[in-house]
């Protein structure tokens, strides 16, 4: 579904992605995980054409990304940013309708789709006429998710979608997203630095470090057959505080 072939990317002479290849299968949820600065967000932006690789090529739906087909391909994918990326001068529903109206879709069908998505994400229709500044962080992320799903894209990209939320909201939205992803059966690529989140959501996990792809596998295989000592280290590092806490309670 998404194919990266020997991608290299530099910023101001610093190479941040090194000769990276990846094949994301259709219908799976793939989580890119790794410490800050490992290049996971850069990789996500390369997939949507927000950045261009210095070398290598990227294909979505078996079509190579080029400046010519960029807009058309983008309209077939959804993208959710850490802060939602909602347009502050538009209400929630205006944000959601923007592309459908721009592409002159039937307004009745759009209304129907909005109702459908409200049900899916458990958003009350009362919230739809609010501006982003009047919504909570969790609500903003739900609206952003609905906007991304509006045109029923085959691929959904999410960049730290839960990163800006408080722990309670994060857990509840994480569970909701898991159920949404499984209901929709879409190809999902999600970026996070939280191994727990990756474990909860992913069918497949990509572990990255310093611009290299260390391992691309299921969680159990990562645990059982780590390709690099860092994979184990990274998986365990996020377990450690919990174990210490549990030890103290005992």
């Amino acid at each position: 579904m998404i194919r990266l072939e020997q991608i290299t990317k530099s910023f101001n002479g610093n190479e941040v992605i090194h000769d990276l290849s990846l094949d994301v299968p259709a219908g799976k949820t793939v989580v890119l995980v790794g410490p800050s600065g490992c290049g996971k967000s850069t990789l996500l932006r390369l997939m949507v054409g927000l950045l261009w690789p210095d070398q290598g090529s990227i294909a979505l739906f078996q079509k190579y990304l080029s400046r010519k087909n960029l807009e058309a391909l983008r309209q077939q994918v959804g993208f959710v940013l850490q802060d939602g990326g909602l347009f502050p001068h538009m209400t929630a529903v205006q944000n959601m309708r923007l592309m459908a109206d721009y592409l002159k879709y039937d307004p009745d069908k759009t209304d129907h789709r909005i109702a459908e998505l409200c049900e899916l994400t458990h958003i009350s229709t009362d919230l739809l006429n609010r501006y982003p500044a009047e919504l909570s962080g969790g609500q903003v992320q739900r609206i952003a998710l609905m906007r991304a799903l509006m045109l029923d894209p085959q691929i959904l990209f999410l960049d730290e979608p839960l990163g800006a939320l408080d722990p309670l909201n994060r857990v509840s939205l994480q569970e909701e997203m898991k159920s949404i992803f499984s209901q929709l059966g879409k190809t999902v690529v999600l970026v996070t630095h939280d191994m727990g989140e990756a474990a909860a959501l992913a069918d497949l996990i990509v572990i990255m470090k310093d611009g290299y792809l260390l391992q691309f596998d299921t969680l159990s295989n990562l645990s059982a057959h780590p390709a690099d000592p860092f994979v184990t280290e990274f998986i365990n590092a996020q377990r450690k505080p919990w174990q210490q806490l549990e030890d103290q309670i005992k």
């Binding site: 927000l50 940013l81 909602l86 347009f87 502050p88 923007l98 500044a133």
Partner: protein, 503 residues
């Protein structure tokens, strides 16, 4: 791109149509300089021609000699009064003419004719307070040599004329270094307040008697004659064959005493130049004409109309040009820097200089003022459009691109609405500055609130100054308020709420 083309088209229309408006009408245009005697003389000429059924318009208080001369040669003006000394040493500077026939021939080469002197001689002189004269026992200009500490204040024109300060200094070997240029009408006040010790005078100034000033003797006969004459375009005689006869009727008709009285009637007794000129003509030519005296309210209506015209047209054009420039600059950072530098440099050109630069291109009156105001209005709008667009939050820019909106749609639906607050603020700044700067338009005959201010300064009439200054201040406030209101109604409530919660 189509909108850009439309903007360019409108801008071109604006530049090409505006000068055309100035050339309409077949009235004979009479100019005057920015001092009372010149205004009175032009008013005398204007009314005298009107009595003889010639349609005229007096464009008064237009600035200095060079401006009037340029306007005359270029056909922006038909007639204006000047002085022989000024013509020889200032206008024909470098042509080394001295005798009357030489002057006539030199002027003829520019298509300009000259009448014989009107009578009085209004030469330059140096004046001091009697107390200063007594303290240093000063009687002649030569006496000044012993007191280098004396502070001089001269009209800006006198400062750099060929027959002005530099050669006066050389002629008398004067040692003074504290010499500054200032407005003639303010010079008297400076002298009175003793912030300067010596000023240049016109010998027919009413103030000499009023302030009881001591006039230093020109003991080395430096100052030439300044006999008042009338300059007019020679081609005018084709249009109005009798013109020369009418102008010759004024030759030799004004004595020095009569001129001082007329100056005094205007400057010290508060009569208008038109009234004084009319009274003079009635006595000289036994006519009984009566001029209409405009009321303060009439004047306010006229100046308000003129001012609003200047501000709205120049600002409107600036908006149409500056916003696309700002957008262009925001999309190409190198070009953005160039655009900002260019409009920034324009902003640093002194307004008076810019107005004078415009005269060869656009003549005098509305068009050069409009173009100058237009140029001054560009910077705040360009800068705020550019910074408003480049300062958008990165997540908003990314999500607009990731949605698959093409660049033009992103600009229209996302970027411009979000930058609107910044752009509106830029327009507001431009508008408020524009209202103030437009008062300078009066210097080149564009009218507006600057007109009463200019006259008020010249006549030392606070009431007149306020007649221009107060409406200008009120207009600036109204502009400010209306933009605040526009911000509230035009901007999306989404970005207004954000503003309130974050402040």
């Amino acid at each position: 791109m189509t909108t850009l083309r439309l903007y360019l088209y409108l801008a071109i229309c604006f530049f090409t149509l505006a000068p055309a408006q100035a050339e309409s009408g077949l009235e004979i245009r009479i100019g005057s300089k920015k001092f009372t005697e010149s205004v009175i003389l032009s008013e005398v000429i204007t009314q005298h021609l009107q009595t003889n059924k010639i349609s005229t318009v007096h464009r008064d208080q237009l600035g200095g000699t060079r401006l009037l001369w340029k306007a005359l040669v270029q056909g922006e003006l038909d007639i204006y009064p000047d002085y022989t000394g000024t013509i020889i040493y200032e206008i024909l500077q470098g042509e080394k003419v001295t005798s009357d026939p030489e002057v006539k021939a030199a002027l003829a080469r520019h298509g300009v004719s000259i009448t014989d002197p009107l009578g009085f001689n209004n030469t330059y002189a140096l004046g001091i307070k009697p107390s200063t004269a007594a303290k240093y026992s000063l009687q002649s200009i030569s006496d000044l040599r012993q007191y280098p500490e004396l502070r001089f204040g001269f009209t800006n024109e006198f400062m750099d004329r060929e027959d002005g300060w530099p050669s006066l200094r050389d002629h008398y070997q004067l040692p003074q270094t504290s010499v500054r240029g200032l407005d003639h009408d303010l010079a008297y006040k400076g002298l009175e307040a003793e912030s300067i010790d010596l000023i240049d005078l016109y010998s027919t100034d009413a103030e000499i008697a009023y302030y009881q000033l001591a006039v230093l003797e020109d003991d080395k006969s430096y100052f030439p004659d300044y006999r008042a004459v009338i300059l007019y375009r020679t081609d005018l005689l084709e249009r109005v064959p009798l013109l020369q006869t009418y102008l010759d009727q004024l030759v030799g008709s004004i004595s020095e005493a009569e001129m001082i009285t007329m100056n005094s009637n205007v400057k010290l007794d508060g009569h208008s130049e038109a009234e004084v000129a009319q009274e003079f003509l009635n006595v000289k030519f036994n006519t009984l004409s009566k001029i209409e005296v405009s009321t303060r309210f009439d004047r306010l209506i006229t100046t308000t109309k003129e001012h609003l015209f200047l501000v709205s047209l120049s600002l409107g054009a600036a908006i149409l040009v500056a916003i696309p420039l700002g957008i262009w600059g925001a999309k190409n950072s190198t070009q953005g820097q160039i655009i900002l530098s260019v409009v920034g440099i324009i902003q640093t050109i002194p307004s008076l200089a810019l107005l004078v630069f415009m005269i060869p291109l656009l003549g005098i009156g509305g068009p050069p003022a409009l173009v100058a105001l237009f140029l001054y209005s560009l910077l705040p709008i360009v800068r705020n459009t550019l910074s408003g667009l480049t300062g958008l939050p990165i997540d908003v820019q990314e999500s607009a691109r990731a949605l698959g909106l093409p660049p033009a749609a992103r600009l229209k639906m996302i970027e411009l609405p979000l930058a609107a607050r910044s752009i509106l603020a830029g327009i507001k700044t431009s508008a408020v500055i524009n209202v103030g700067t437009a008062t300078l338009g009066a210097l080149i005959g564009a009218g507006g609130y600057g007109q009463p201010i200019l006259t008020g300064i010249r006549l030392d009439d606070t009431g007149l100054i306020l007649e221009g200054a107060i409406p200008a201040a009120i207009l600036a406030l109204l502009v400010q308020w209306s933009f605040d209101l526009a911000e509230r109604t035009l901007l999306s409530p989404g970005i207004q709420t954000k503003q309130e919660t974050s402040s």
